[in-house]
Amino acid sequence: MELFRNLMYILVTSVLVENVVLAKFLGCCPFLGVSKKLDSAVGMSSAVIFVMLMATAVTWPIYTYLLAPNGLEYLQTIVFILVIAALVQMVEFILKKYMKSLYKALGVYLPLITTNCAVLGCTLLNLENHYNFLESLVNALGSGLGFMLAMVLFAGVRSKMESVEFPKSFQGIPITLVAASIVSMSFMGFASVADGIFR
């Protein structure tokens, strides 16, 4: 029960309280760039969830059983980014060959994910927080779901914004950022929710 409670705490924290985009500023480029339409927002964030889980499942053992025992912690940045790049490439090949329908849905977004800082950031934060393997996976899942939640909400906000007139100097990027600020403000309401429920 204690284990379950702890995992739920990590999950709720990473989805709502410490949202990967709106509180930690990881993955802002796709958040602002790909959120114009709902289906592309969903496609992009599903690909992120997928890669985040895979990347965590691969980088955590590499760090714990290969780098840390040999005193090579300082190599983690290089190793992680290469592992993620190779992983994304491999996933793309496999999907293209065996899962055509999934490839159609996610394929476009996969190459963009190598340099998505949310993925690298998530794998690094797992180690920084000294999560064990299971906790790391839950955190990766939560971060991915949080990314999706933020993207979907923001896609809704932006579709509303299309029918509104703004002052000329705010058109385009500035108003997108201001809208993101308001969405982020609404997520601040979740502060300490996880503590209230699970601690």
């Binding site: 709106l22 509180a23 930690k24 500023f25 990881l26 993955g27 802002c28 480029c29 796709p30 602002l32 760039g33 790909v34 114009k36 339409k37 592309s40 992009m44 300082y74 190599l75 983690q76 940045t77 290089i78 980014i81 290469l82 790049a85 476009v108 977004y109 190459p111 963009l112 190598t114 340099t115 998505n116 800082c117 690298l120 950031g121 690094l124 934060l125 920084e128 002052p167 000329k168 100097s169 705010f170 058109q171 385009g172 990027i173 500035p174 108003i175 997108t176 950022l177 201001v178 993101a180 600020s181 308001i182 982020s184 403000m185 997520f187 601040m188």
Partner: protein, 225 residues
């Protein structure tokens, strides 16, 4: 037209400022600008990596095969980031801990990869070095502006010195996440206003300057949207 060396250097500071004009590298821009001091630290760190990676990539431009160039660039950049984090940890540990996770994340900063792809892989070593310095100074400058606004409004201090004690009480939302988006948006809007819409080149977030555009099938066809 061939650009003079001075033009290359100033290009990144004003005309093609990576943050304010091209709107790249949004994540570190928003995350580390809660204090002017951190903004400078991040700016200088990125400048170091930009300079180093631009020089090395421009030296290696004939050796790196075209098909695997992006992974090669990432390895070079990651090498410099590793070097930098070791140096910072040893000599300025407080900056090291303030930048936290955003120090290793310089690897995936699209400004650095973008300059490697767009400039260093096509130009001489000297010009690439100038471009790296110019872009780095432009990045630092933009971070300093945003960092100063946020620190003054949000904490009432500037570089840690109290300056608004008697004027107003600090509005702490500016040092929190929403304030980052808000100040960044307003600074770009102000630039638009002052230049009658000419300064900010990117009108929307899209593929134009995405470092992955080369490997992305959808680039130029309405982007990833």
């Amino acid at each position: 037209m061939e650009k003079s060396n001075l033009q290359i250097l100033t290009n990144g500071i004003i005309k093609e400022n990576p943050v304010l004009v091209l709107v790249l590298g949004t994540c570190p821009t928003l995350a580390v600008t809660t204090m002017a001091k951190n903004a400078i630290g991040m700016g200088l760190a990125a400048t170091f990596v930009l300079l180093g990676s631009n020089i090395v990539i421009s030296l290696l431009k004939k050796v790196i095969p075209d098909k695997v160039r992006i992974p090669c660039y990432i390895v070079v950049i990651a090498g410099f980031v590793t070097l930098l984090s070791a140096l910072l940890q040893a000599y300025v540990p407080d900056v090291y801990s303030a930048l936290g996770i955003f120090l290793p994340l310089i690897v995936v900063n699209c400004i650095i990869l973008g300059r490697a792809e767009m400039f260093a892989s096509k130009n001489s070593v000297f010009k690439s070095a100038l471009d790296g310095i110019g872009m780095g100074i432009g990045f630092t400058f933009a971070l300093l502006i945003i960092g100063s606004i946020r620190e003054i409004l949000g904490s009432g201090t500037w570089f840690g010195l109290p300056i608004t004690v008697n004027l107003f009480s600090p509005i702490s939302i500016f040092v929190l996440a929403p304030g980052g988006f808000l100040v960044f948006g307003c600074v770009i809007a102000l630039l638009n206003k002052l230049s009658n819409g000419k300064a900010v080149k990117r009108k929307s977030f899209g593929c134009e300057s995405c470092p992955n555009a080369a490997g992305c099938a959808n680039a130029g066809k309405g982007g990833c949207e």
